[in-house]
């Protein structure tokens, strides 16, 4: 076997690709992963991780401003933007290096370059336009991820109109900012820049902010954002952007037919992401695409035998942990293990704005739409001892059960640290617990997680502290 022949070649070393590579290696497969830029992909270098570093700076800055609430004093509070960005980049660099180490430890071959399918079983790799090598493999896994969606007229230009790439490395703090789109990416940047002092306007085309979240949770989040001084316009659309030398005037149309112009220093375009399906040689295969993503089945198999697609490029939900899990199932099936397709109803989602949002499963509207007879439980942060002690009394935990079977259909949270709590419900759903098992589970006191217990009890009119 030559060095260019592998059991599995993975295209892209994002969270889906590198995790799949390691799992494949654990199973004794000879694995190569081709990456054109950074190990760890967007998630680690330009997404999940560096934004968390920025938001941590914002969080501490926020605490400093509110030190008085806790009997502390902080004077002359200020920040050094360059240092905040430098820390964020440092975090990414460190973790990217860590991925390289893990791949090496697991004897995964890392190929530096751009991959292109050359029919089934073959991948051509080039670097700076020059052919480097051709890899052959029985199994090829496409994990090329996604990139910012561009809407005509709202394209990022890197200077006045930013995508997440530029928004992660600002040289100066804009005084005013327009964020187009209120999904996780848009809201996290809005939260960071607002906390750091910018005047922030968020424009969302849908009826609610965070459109995929439960309407009640999104409404509470919106109230918090507005209390922090954010301006939120829903049911509204940015019709055009007029650029001056150092500012942008945006024309915003609202659903009632009115239009308004606002002038801001910078614009962040966060209108979603699209799969990276171009220039990877899909045309040399039988692979089908649909709305910018590769069509694949529950075990990530495409229409071309021996080629698989996982993660963002294989369609929503476009989340790093979905990509990882899909990749693991895919490579385990390749290795002959008995696996089941990922259950998309049990993939949690987290948004790290202030307050945080976390959810899993069906929201109330979707559960009703599915014709389910449901029971809904709610528990507010202000009735939880730990939340009050933390000074984080805004928030809500909400549960949705199938009234007939007691199946936990969904859980939705807004408030402090909820992103660290949601996995409790995810485990419960994964193990198919019913309300009874959750009621019998002991939650430690005093914790925020007690609200998860109470929200279950409340669905059956048994909450203690309300």
């Amino acid at each position: 076997m030559s060095d260019s022949n592998f059991d599995v070649v993975i295209i892209g070393a994002g969270p889906g690709g590198y995790v799949t590579a390691i799992r494949g290696a654990q199973l004794g497969l000879k694995v190569a992963v081709v990456e054109k830029q950074h190990l760890g992909g967007i998630c680690l270098n330009w997404g999940c991780i560096p934004t968390k570093a920025l938001l941590r700076s914002a969080e501490i800055y926020h605490y400093m401003h509110n030190a008085g609430d806790y009997g502390l004093a902080a004077k002359e509070i200020s920040f050094d933007l360059a240092a905040i960005v430098k820390r964020s980049r440092g975090v990414s660099a460190k973790l990217s290096k860590g991925v390289g180490f893990l791949l090496k430890k697991n004897k995964v071959t890392v190929v530096d370059g751009e991959a292109r399918l050359n029919g089934p079983g073959k991948v051509d790799v080039s670097k700076d336009g020059k052919a480097v090598s051709t890899l052959t493999a029985k199994h090829i896994i496409i994990a090329t991820g996604a990139r910012p969606r561009e809407l005509p007229g709202l394209e990022a230009d890197g200077k006045l109109v930013w995508s997440y790439f530029e928004a992660l490395v600002p040289e100066t703090m804009p005084k005013s900012l327009l964020v187009i789109g209120s999904g996780a990416i848009g809201i996290e940047f809005a939260s960071f820049y607002r906390t750091m002092g910018a005047e922030v306007t968020v424009v969302e085309v849908m009826k609610q902010v965070l459109p995929v979240e439960d309407a009640e949770i999104a409404a509470l989040a919106r109230k918090s954002f507005e209390k922090q001084g954010m301006r939120i316009m829903t049911d509204a659309k940015v019709a055009k952007l007029d650029k001056a030398t150092n500012s942008v005037t945006a024309t915003i149309e609202t659903a009632d037919g009115k239009s308004e112009t606002i002038t801001v220093d910078r614009v962040i375009s966060a209108v979603g992401v699209v799969g990276n399906i171009e220039n990877i040689g899909l045309e040399t295969t039988k692979i089908k695409t649909d709305r910018g993503c590769i069509v694949a089945d529950g075990l990530s198999r495409t229409d071309e035998p021996g080629i698989y697609a996982i993660g963002d490029v294989a369609g929503p939900p476009m989340l790093a942990h979905k990509a990882e899990h899909e990749g693991v199932i895919c490579v385990e099936a390749i290795a002959g293990l008995d696996v089941h397709p990922i259950d998309k109803a049990k993939i949690p989602g987290c948004t790290y704005c202030h307050p945080q949002i976390a959810s899993v499963g069906l929201n109330e509207a979707a559960a009703k739409l599915a014709g389910r007879d449901i029971r809904v439980g709610r528990f507010p942060f202000m009735a939880n001892g730990k939340a009050v002690a933390l000074g984080e009394a805004d928030g809500l935990v909400k549960t949705i059960f199938n009234a007939k079977t007691g199946e936990l259909l969904g859980a939705h949270m807004v408030g402090a640290e909820v992103t660290e709590m949601i996995q409790g419900y995810v485990v419960a759903m994964g193990l198919e617990t019913t309300e009874e098992d959750l009621m019998h589970t002991v939650f430690p006191h005093p914790t925020l997680s007690e609200m998860m217990h109470e929200a279950v009890l409340d669905a059956y009119d048994r909450a203690i502290h309300t």
Binding site: G298, H340, G371, K404, T405, G406, E407, L431, E432, T433, T434, E436, D437
Partner: protein, 427 residues
Amino acid sequence: MPIEILMPALSPTMTEGSLVKWHKAEGDSVESGDVVCEIETDKATMEVEAVDEGILGKIMVAEGTDGVLVNQVIAVLLEDGEDASAISTASAPTPAAAPTAAPAPAAALAAPAVTTPVPAPAAAPSGARLFASPLARRLAADAGIDLNAITGSGPHGRIVKRDIEGAQAGGVATAAVAVTVQPAPAAAAPKPAMVDDASLPPYTEVPHSNMRKVVARRLSESKQTIPHFYLTVDCELDNLLALRKDLNSRSDDYKISVNDFVVRAVALALGKVPEANAMWTDTGMLLFDQADISIAVAIPGGLITPVVRNAGAKGLVAISAEVKDMAGRAREGKLMPEEYQGGSFTISNLGMFGIKNFSAIINPPQACILAVGAGAPRPVVKDGALAVATVMSCTLAVDHRVVDGAVGAAFLAAFKPLIEDPVSMLL
């Protein structure tokens, strides 16, 4: 080391059975998957397949032996290069005295290679812990399903929600089972259940499969609780048959059936009369945005309804490929629950059996089912004169709580022209 073949357990309560017949003789070579012998209990006969390959070295239990204890060694398989002398080192018959007794060390060593591919839960001795998720237990209790009869597909054979749903829909659990279970022949069930009914002729009692129970329960419930009414329409098929012939002559990649046209026509007609694409619930009527068409497929022991999702958005070739694929897998019992659950409208086609016209029972919770008969030459009146046309009768069964007579008629009025002038399906 020679591989022992043990007496398998067919059910959790089985402690012994009869070895009816050996399909292989001593000295025969055995391939993986070959049927080695047949085992019988009071309920069923079972073929035991080999997992490993080798030479059948020695038969320890002769055929026709009754009362063979579960886990007793019934034969020994020799691997390549081994000769019969190796058998002397193999364990003598070690009947399991009680189901809870620990296996003999030799049997334990051989365990991974043993050719008794009975699903783990079924092989568990009675009284052993049964692994099932809390939700699966509750769903099973509600549906009256015995968990002991279910093969778990979760981690370590745990029974999970999808296994219960699979059982409800007709025992199409996804776990691979290498044992083929057949209803016992008459000889094995000499005692009819209704012995006091002397007026009956001799018969064989076939135990209900889960699918049979589900079919019985759901359709009784449907016919008893849903106010059915029926509307019949005759459709001339000649244009459709000509178009079908033309389309099918263009490529060998597909072969569109009349039923594929019916699926598309129903979906398009539902698009025109969306009130018929509906479902009754106690709180309100659900009006669907797309037509997910369930197709009744006969499978051994019952029927199942794979669903063509959003059929109105699919072309004939796509519909045809999807139906063919799902019907094929349905017959093999390999459909995933999401492939046969849901659906907003059902089509049942008995045309291939030459049935002229029939009335179907509504597939709850849906509101309509279209029963499609055979297309056959019939006299028709055209321009005041008798003529011959190929005519297909379709009867729509309708839930009157959801769809009134005029709406049902409007649906058929939209459906009929699509069938009679199939080119209009392009519009």
